[in-house]
Amino acid sequence: MGGTPHSVQAQFDLNKPVTVTGVVTKVEWINPHSYLYLDVKDNNGNVKHWAFEMAGPGALRKAGLSRADRGGLKGGDTVTVNGVLSKDGSDSAFIKDVKLPDGRVFTIWTNDPNAR
């Protein structure tokens, strides 16, 4: 993506979609990819720490997720994320869209490269 040398294919399986609902623990605004971290409870009540790779603030703005809306990504909020799973078996994924606590859904990864 963009300027990073490695392909999404080297890390994520585009044929393995995943949906995860969890509590935001941290949003990390960094290059080359920002990260959204969720604590997710499984059926047995065990908490897993998930990491979702996503684009930077500029791309989120273009997705309609303004800074004000980003308040919905603050720690403690429960959000639902769709993405594609990592290939290495870790609890991580490449984010496609995020559903905020108020029900609004923002598509972050679109197929339009100019959206990035």
Binding site: T4, V8, W29, N31, G56, G58, P113
Partner: protein
């Protein structure tokens, strides 16, 4: 319509408004030379590229709507560019190995600088009678962030190469050749690459950048001389930028860079 068709049409559509924008009078300073000062394009990334022979100038649409095709198609187009640095035969194997292992060998991975000339054209120029101050912003998905260069244009000569520490941006000195600003740079490290593809260089690299303003367009073109490793100088594809029409525009601050992906890669696929 196939992806290439979309690419060609997209490139043609891009040409029209930009050339029209370049037809105004070129702003000049008191001495008569063009005034290069200004924000060039939006301030983010590598700038608008409209040269039809630059495969980076337009992105293919995502064929079948998949990110996989988007990445692979654009990689093919990029690699099909016939304008490559030509290495001496004894370095072919090295270039291939660096390329094959680009995910770990490319210094742009892991948040290192791009350096000159890989950092491309500036997003903002401040021109004074004695120096150019050039500002750069890395593309969204590259980590090298905000960078600047101070380029004296006061007629001084280069420091002797032996006395320069090799750096990412080297020692740059500019002078006018007619209406073209020529920025001459030596004193590099041998860590930076010229581009994706294993394109390394030696510490003796010499880069000549030509910056020319015509109306509200700016043409940036760089030539890489490195007789230690290249058969002949590499004349890089030129880039054409447009003056940002908003006089209040400022470059966007970039994020700090921390690479989290490297430990999760399962294969060597890259661009």
């Amino acid at each position: 319509m196939n992806g290439l068709g979309r690419y060609v049409i997209g490139a043609v559509l891009c040409l029209v408004p930009v050339y029209a924008a370049g037809q105004g009078a070129t702003a000049r300073i008191a001495g008569g030379h063009p005034d290069l000062s200004g924000m060039w394009n939006g301030g983010g990334g590598r700038g608008l590229v409209i040269s039809a022979d630059d495969p980076l100038g337009a992105y293919l649409a995502a064929r079948d709507g998949t990110l996989l095709n988007f990445e692979r198609d654009n990689t093919l187009v990029r690699r099909a560019d016939p304008n490559k640095p030509l290495y001496k035969p004894e370095f072919w194997e090295k270039v291939q190995k660096l390329d094959q292992n680009g995910n770990t060998q490319d210094p742009s991975y892991g948040c290192m600088l791009a350096g000159v000339p890989r950092m491309g054209p500036p997003v903002k120029i401040v021109q004074t009678p004695t120096e150019l101050i050039l500002f750069y912003v890395s593309p969204p998905a590259q980590g090298w962030g905000d960078q600047y260069r101070i380029v004296p244009i006061d007629g001084r000569q280069h420091t002797r190469l032996e006395e320069l520490d090799g750096t990412w941006k080297g020692e740059s000195i500019g002078h006018w050749e007619g209406d073209t600003m020529v920025v001459d740079t030596i004193g590099f490290n041998d860590t930076s690459w010229l581009d994706i593809g294993g394109y390394f260089h030696s510490e003796n690299m010499h880069v000549i950048e030509r910056i020319r303003r015509e109306g509200d367009t700016l043409t940036w073109q760089a030539t890489v001389e490195d007789p230690d490793v290249l058969i002949r100088p590499w004349v890089m594809n030129s880039r054409l930028l447009r003056l940002n029409p908003d006089p209040k525009a400022v470059p966007e601050e970039t994020l700090p860079c921390v690479e989290r992906d490297l430990s999760h890669l399962v294969n060597k696929e890259h661009h």
